[in-house]
Symmetry: C2
Subunit: 143 residues, 2 copies
DNA sequence: AAAAAAATATGACTTAAATCATATTTAAGA
DNA sequence: TCTTAAATATGATTTAAGTCATATTTTTTT
């Protein structure tokens, strides 16, 4: 469903949503350990997200990564799409080209509605919102 | 969601469900072309499914692959699990180990119910049933 | 201004998935 | 029984995803 990279990115961004702020930036090495993601790989991912303005970063001493107020308003789907590309979540399950309701592949009926529902959920849920869930103990931040 | 291999396997098995019978076996080369799957790769996949008794095959001249009556009763999920392993469809989306309702990861609530619904659909739908759909024009067999 | 600490940029390496190739076995038909 | 046509078995090659390493740039602190 998601690539490994997207999973890593989500974990990292949520960790930042819960633990960082403009006044409390987090260095890559202090982020990689708790979420259990290879350090250099994570660096690459975050640099990419930073370039796309989905996370904030400051170089140099006292620098690090954090989420700005604006970053926190982003939806989960935006992180996923930034990493995996827009297509991955929308593509036909059997990778058929002309997938639509008029030309449904054999698995379409077994999956399409639920898939749309998931998309909708990912589209409407902000990082902020998930961070609140985590803080209030409704869900956990995975290792 | 599914691996490339699983997609190929589903396409192949459905093609066999629609077009083959014990009296009309299909050779690998005549199967690979219409469903647009690399020939040798497909051979490997089907040999594996054959070993697991999910498809039937006969060697030698006049031989080929086909689906027996029993094969046709198998559920879609069985094909998927045979190729991708039992775990893949059940694993936590963020690859967390102790994923369950008591210990839900941050995305759990956004996806779990829909995912279960999909699983249920794949679990109850037989190849036979999908083949009927295709024959009656309710869905198509993808290239 | 110099030194140090951080992200950034670039690229090399490794691993697993996907693809391709070939030799072997089995069964049919002449 | 011999030839031929098919699946089967095994393994090599390629490609893409994931991982690791290092040099560069930027900013802070002294
Ligand atoms: S046509 Fe394949 S999922 Fe819609
Ligand atoms: S805990 Fe991750 S999907 Fe259930």
């Amino acid at each position: 469903m998601f690539s490994n990279s997207a999973k890593y990115a989500i974990k990292a961004v949520l960790y930042l949503a819960v633990n960082s702020s403009e006044e409390h930036k987090i260095m890559i090495k202090d982020l990689a350990k708790p979420i259990n993601v290879p350090r250099h790989y994570l660096a690459k991912l975050l640099q990419d997200l930073s370039k796309k303005h989905l996370v904030s970063s400051i170089k140099g001493p006292k620098g690090g990564f954090y989420l700005s107020a604006k970053n926190r308003k982003e939806k989960v789907i935006d992180i996923i799409n930034a990493v995996d590309g827009e297509e991955r979540m929308k593509a036909c399950l059997l990778s058929l080209e002309g997938c639509n309701a008029n030309n449904p592949c054999s698995l379409h009926h077994l999956i399409y509605d639920e898939r749309q529902a998931i998309l909708k959920n990912l589209n409407k849920t902000s990082l902020d919102h998930l961070a609140e869930h985590i803080k209030s103990g409704k869900s956990i931040l995975p290792l």
